[in-house]
Symmetry: C2
Subunit: 490 residues, 2 copies
């Protein structure tokens, strides 16, 4: 498309940002889906920002023309946070990928929002440091902060909320805030940094992050423990905590899932509720002592060690059944799409919630791997069905809905680590009560024109602003297709 | 005072709250000062709240009559957060002191805001649990959350921000929010809980807290290490972190202070920059290994062990020089008043900041103990002078001002753990830039009438609302004495 053909807000973007604005169908389609939401919403333009100035220029045009802007990091979100409003702007931050020099004394590094997790850790490794938050996907750090991501190591290191020291954020009105600092603590003023962590681009656009780093542990070891029942596995994980033992990772997989992985990988792991724990230590003696405590805690609750490993290779092999769940699912059900349930409950409600999940699956005639970051009380159901199998998707919706409602009812949360996006909004009232209204007041205060990732988190898609859809918006859906509460199947 | 004599807003409080409202001079004077601010501002009434309903009733009267309300926990604040507006309402929450049954599986307990730290830990001890945040003073949990308190154990467990699972907060408009949950993590909605932690009663009144608990460590040991210079002590504390060793406490005291304590307690500790570390372990072997690492890290940077202890009694004795700083100061300077400086800097700026503090003291001809929660980069200067010694207080002001400005200039914060109150407001613009304006927008959104602890944190005392001072306000100062930026000396 020639520049002189581009008019309206797309023309204004092109004027300010030149070739960093793409209207090419391929680029737009590449920003139309995330990894978990069965919707295809094609943006009207993609801005490939290279600097904070590009972000501000994009926001200025979007503000002037009232065009929604949705930040895009790596597109690995699961609940729709990164999906653009159809026909509007996808603000791709992947080019803002500078990694500063790590500070080995202050244990921090400053990165652009587009830096990805695995690339960052490759850069940090020679310094003996790492960034611990591990959501599984190779997500961008900006996206991870925006959704308050966490994962397998959160039991030991916390999630993004605990590991972002400072943020720079561009606001809807063009101000840029620096929030937090490299100091390890502060009681100075309101915690605005925390307000932006988890706000999914609805309050501002993250343009830089200062992250807390940790030393690579001198030595690690892993153990796999099979239990007689789910309750035993859960109780053992609580006992561990009571003993003051904090593993690097503490993961749970149910019996049916171990069986599925056995089948897929020709393994012979006991088909029982299973825990995996990785511990870090100073030396072999320290690891030995921790593994002995782990075995002891397990045996108190009917758990038996079925494998133990110390070398990286052996640990990798030991964890195969945990890490192989998704692959086994894909292999067992070729052509199926997946949808991952994600709830987090108080540890005292964890065993009961596992039971509820299993009952719900049985009641609706479904099978799905149940895995959990069990030390945090965080459970995932890996649902799957053929994209066209409307009946099964309806039953999946029932199960995931009932599970989220149960999590809230027992004092937990509808989303442990995947964010709210489009699909968890329906639970916010029951989870937060009147606080949802205050969240909406915060949104209205910081984005009165409602053009920052509108409709997400606390937003109501029925209240989306009208904006001019350009003549050049030839491909994809339009804003009229915005039906997030009745998602089309893929 | 007879009930029928009470009119105006005090009468309205009495109508709603009966005997829980005190207009007695003694009660009012007891709420006129905190532990660190040389100001006496006598409230016009004290409400002794016993329930969330009492808090709501107080807020309703205050809202109707536009009378400022300042929550009061234990009165241990150091920067003026708990000082009432002269003639207005002090809302004493110390009677809301219920402690719920600890949840030994979820590691939580729910308490009223008036529960004090030491009482809570006495209740938790038989359960093998404790609440780790230790600001030194026997503060109330509500006050600790309101100022985002931390302290000696923060290096290991974090501060209030990391250890409050959920809050109930009464808003200016009478809504009551439940924020957070007993689930260990969530990515559901905006982090309003974090916004209220550290807001010092300016955004709402905390009526209940759910706290994260930790298992009492099976065994602990402590070591005292003397260094050739400050830099060695600081670098050793960084080396420890690099080795993956996280002590329960890691404290620093400068050489002059060790000398002062020697003198006061007839001790013979080496008069050198000194670190104390307490480590927790599974058993004796684990403690031995950690102590060996500690000694090794110290010796790399010119540090020598001067004492080691394992029993509670011996550890108490070992820590005496650290814990005796304040007493030694009081003994050496009878009749002096104190003022504690509190800054926190990135660890990479810590040694330099200690040097700056020492130079400032020398330049202004002052002596003051310098102590630090060194693992967090948090430094305190314990300034002292006779209350009437205007010249010395002026020099103290210069030193503390220069130190706070330095901390902000090197990327740190003007207040590590004491909050903003009245006296740190002057640094918020340089520390937060435009974010200060957004903080003020948050304040205006949640408290448009500006009656919740007005003038504190982000507030401007010049913009204090006028309110009717009752005829019964016979004792104490009036709102006209509100001159926080030019504080009177005690």
């Amino acid at each position: 498309m020639e520049d002189d053909q581009v008019t309206g807000w797309q023309g204004a973007l092109r004027t300010g940002l030149g070739e960093r604005v793409s209207l090419v169908p391929g680029d737009r389609s590449a920003h139309a889906r995330d990894e978990g939401t069965p919707l295809t919403w094609v943006p009207g333009a993609v801005v490939y920002a290279r600097s904070e100035g590009d972000v501000l220029e994009t926001l200025a045009v979007a503000r002037d023309w009232r065009v929604p802007v949705t930040p895009w990091g790596a597109g690995t979100s699961l609940e729709g946070a990164a999906l653009p409003v159809p026909g509007a702007i996808s603000l791709d931050l992947s080019g803002m990928d500078a990694v500063g020099e790590p500070d080995p004394v202050g244990f921090t590094v400053t990165v652009g929002p587009g830096v990805r997790r695995l690339a960052l850790n490759r850069r940090l490794r020679p310094h003996g440091l790492f960034f611990p938050v591990d959501p599984g996907a190779d997500a961008s750090l900006g996206g991870m902060a925006a959704t308050n991501a966490s994962g397998t190591t959160t039991v030991r290191y916390g999630g993004m909320r605990e590991n972002v020291a400072a943020l720079r954020v561009a606001l809807a009105d063009g101000r840029v805030l620096t929030l937090g600092s490299a100091a390890r603590k502060s009681s100075s003023g309101y915690a605005l940094k925390q307000l932006f962590i988890g706000s999914e681009g609805t309050l501002g656009v993250i343009t830089s992050l200062t992250l807390r780093l940790h030393p690579l542990p001198p030595a690690t070891a892993s153990v796999q423990l099979a239990f007689g029942d789910v309750e035993g596995a859960v109780t053992a994980s609580v006992t561990l905590r009571g003993l003051g033992l904090t593993p690097e990772r503490l993961e749970f997989v149910d019996a049916a899932t171990v069986a599925a992985v056995n089948c897929h990988r020709a393994r012979h792991d006991p088909e029982a509720p299973t825990l995996w724990a990785e511990v870090a230590g100073r030396d072999r003696a320290d690891l030995d002592a921790q593994l002995a405590l782990l075995r002891e805690a397990a045996s108190l609750h009917g758990g038996t060690p079925v494998g133990e490993a110390r070398t990286p290779e052996a640990q990798s092999e030991l964890w195969a059944a945990r890490h192989g769940v998704y692959d086994a699912l894909r292999a067992a059900w070729p052509g199926h799409a997946t949808r991952i349930g994600d709830v987090c409950v108080p540890l005292s409600a964890l065993a009961g919630t596992v039971a509820v999940a299993q009952e719900l699956l049985e009641e609706h005639g479904l099978t799905a791997p149940l895995v959990g970051h069990i030390g945090d009380g965080n459970l995932h159901l890996l649902m799957h069905a053929h994209p066209d199998d409307v009946d099964t998707w309806t039953r999946i919706d029932h199960v995931l809905h009932a599970l989220a409602a149960h999590a809230v009812a027992v004092g937990g949360t509808c989303t442990g680590e995947h964010g709210v996006g489009l699909r968890k909004r329906t639970y916010l009232r029951s989870e937060h009560g009147d606080a949802l209204d205050v969240m909406r007041e915060v949104k209205a205060m910081l984005d009165p024109l409602n053009f920052l990732n509108p409709g997400k988190v606390v937003g109501d898609p029925a209240l989306l602003p009208a904006f001019p859809v350009s003549d050049h918006d030839a491909v994809g859906d339009t804003a009229a297709d915005w039906r997030p509460d009745v998602p089309a199947r893929p």
